[in-house]
């Protein structure tokens, strides 16, 4: 049974500040969770199964066999529009860097998963709401081009509020850039799998998120094109609770499967196993200098 708001806030206040680093409250069931228990459980609530948003590097660690060779990290955002709203854009970026310990909203690189060499991109909502600016578009395009050259399969985890407003139309054009890169990559016969995590909306959902051969959604993730608020304002009524959830999209036929976080790795392993010819894997592996030991 959900905890009433008054009790929830009372509980929150009862947590001393020094304990906040140790404990986290589940926003779904209200349970106080010990962070040290939460981490090995891939940030899934032990009581109700609520999926906390996951840090990009935690996700990568939980996914790959061994090493992860990052590429594109040297690409960093500029300030092409000299943007300011409440704060200047460079200040916002600095704040996000501190808060998220990331240099941008996506991490890209090479790894193996169940022995299959893959190109892997993981977005993180903790950096500018996972919005796609030039660097996100550029890192992903670079990843897809490198993967195509090496004939690797590509897996991208999405989490995004859409195109990044602070980079204006240059951000919108990343939809065109990434879509083209995916199209080239796929038309060469390479496997592309997207994993949509909470939330995947706007320009990211309307480009590479839904282009994949296999589209997987993490359980309970919010996925859609228009934001919930925009829709509610347009139709002037409240939307049903399950609207734009992974489960809703599965029912409507938009995605291939809904998978709980604990099963994502095994599921990806099976998809790779079905789609990729193992006999091609060894030469491909050798083609990646980082793996050619």
């Amino acid at each position: 049974m959900p905890i009433p708001d008054w009790l929830r806030s009372l509980r929150e206040k009862n947590v001393p500040a020094e304990d906040a680093a140790l404990w986290v409250r589940c926003p779904s069931c209200g349970e106080m969770l010990y962070r040290k228990d939460l981490e090995p459980n891939q940030s899934v609530c032990m009581k109700c199964g609520y999926h906390f948003r996951m840090h990009a590097y935690d996700r990568i660690n939980a996914l790959v066999d061994g090493d992860f060779v990052e590429i594109g990290a040297e690409m960093l955002p500029g300030d092409p529009l000299e943007w300011t709203d409440r704060r200047p854009y460079p200040q916002k970026l600095e704040g996000d860097r501190q808060k998220s310990q990331l240099s941008e909203a996506v991490v890209t690189g090479f790894a193996t998963l169940d022995g299959f060499p893959i190109a892997l991109g993981v977005m993180d909502f903790g950096f500018r709401g996972g919005t796609m600016g030039t660097v996100v578009g550029e890192r992903l395009t670079h990843l897809l081009e490198e993967a195509r050259r090496r004939r690797l399969s590509c897996i991208i985890f999405t989490a995004s509020g859409g195109a990044r407003m602070e980079e204006g139309m240059l951000a919108l054009m990343q939809m065109a850039k990434t879509t083209q890169a995916v199209e080239r990559f796929m038309s060469d016969g390479n496997l592309y799998v997207s994993v949509l995590t909470d939330p995947t909306t706007g320009g990211v959902s309307a480009s590479f998120a839904f282009q994949a051969d296999v589209v997987i959604a993490e359980a309970r993730a919010k996925i859609g094109f228009a934001g919930r608020r925009v829709i509610e304002q347009t139709i002037r009524q409240k939307l049903p609770e399950n609207f734009q959830t992974a489960e809703f999209l599965l029912e409507k036929g938009h995605i291939d499967m809904v998978v709980p976080r604990s099963e994502i790795r095994a599921t990806l392993g099976r998809v790779l196993d079905y789609a990729v010819d193992r006999t091609r894997v060894v030469p491909a592996l050798k083609a990646v200098p980082e793996f050619a030991v």
Binding site: L76, D85, T134, L170, T179, F208, A226, I235, F243, G253
Partner: protein
Amino acid sequence: MNVIVEREKSLHALEERIAALRARDGGESNEEVRQLEASYNDLLREIFGKLTPWERVNMARHPKRPIAGDYLAALDRFDELHGDRHFRDDPALSGGFAKLRGRRVVVLAQQKGRDTKENIRRNFGMVSPEGYRKASRLMELASRFGLPIVSFVDTSGADPGIGSEERAQAEAIARCLTTLAKVRVPTVAAIVGEGGSGGALALALADRVIMAENAVYSVASPEGCAAILWGDAARAPEAAERLKLTSGDLLGFGIVDEVVPEPLGGAQRDAAGFVARVLDAIDAALERLVDRASAELREERYRKYRRIGSWQGSAQAQMASALS
């Protein structure tokens, strides 16, 4: 309230007086008329000579501005093809075979209405998934028969309704982009009014992008942007300033290839002439593209969008060398 329409009210009295004097003198211009016309032109320049981004947003939304229907009517011929073959025909997006300055093409157009009734029928030019799927279908048709694709963009954005979400608006737009990336024929997009975010881009990933001087093309609507940034949609004029959504800005970024100038006071002051100039610009762009081999076209299209953006780091140099 449209700020341009409000401004125009101050011109109406003068326009009427000039017309009345002319009628009285049988079309002759006497000294009085000439003086009035001079002050009228001064006023025009004062009001419209230098428009702010927000004023251009309002120009793009002007109720008398030429809309897609005007462009379609000015083609040599247009045979509309309907439907997405799955769900319904979306009146917010028209498409079909056409002849433009004698060339055989496939045309796609986002359709606003001229009055409330037509606007409701056409959903104010906001395209639903079935409209984008119709567009993808017609793009593939064009590609199979070697017909260049010409699109007219004028939308505040893709339709944000429940039905559109239920029928996968995101996938429908992504499919349009994918299809435009791979078609083997020349593509020209004309941003003639509002270019509202992904819903506009879905038709505008093109070899050549032409933009009307007072059209706008933006990652988000100024109202939506202001609501997100300051929690106050009334600050839209400020947001319009920051978004860099004018034709001049976008030409500078290389997002738009060519700007078609408008008469002082906006395209609606010489609608037929302006529509003809846009069609001429499209014709000229096609002239330069039609003889190119499809592989070359696609390669250049890829590079064009590959270049757009601005960031720091050595990868920019790497990319430059990879593309050379």
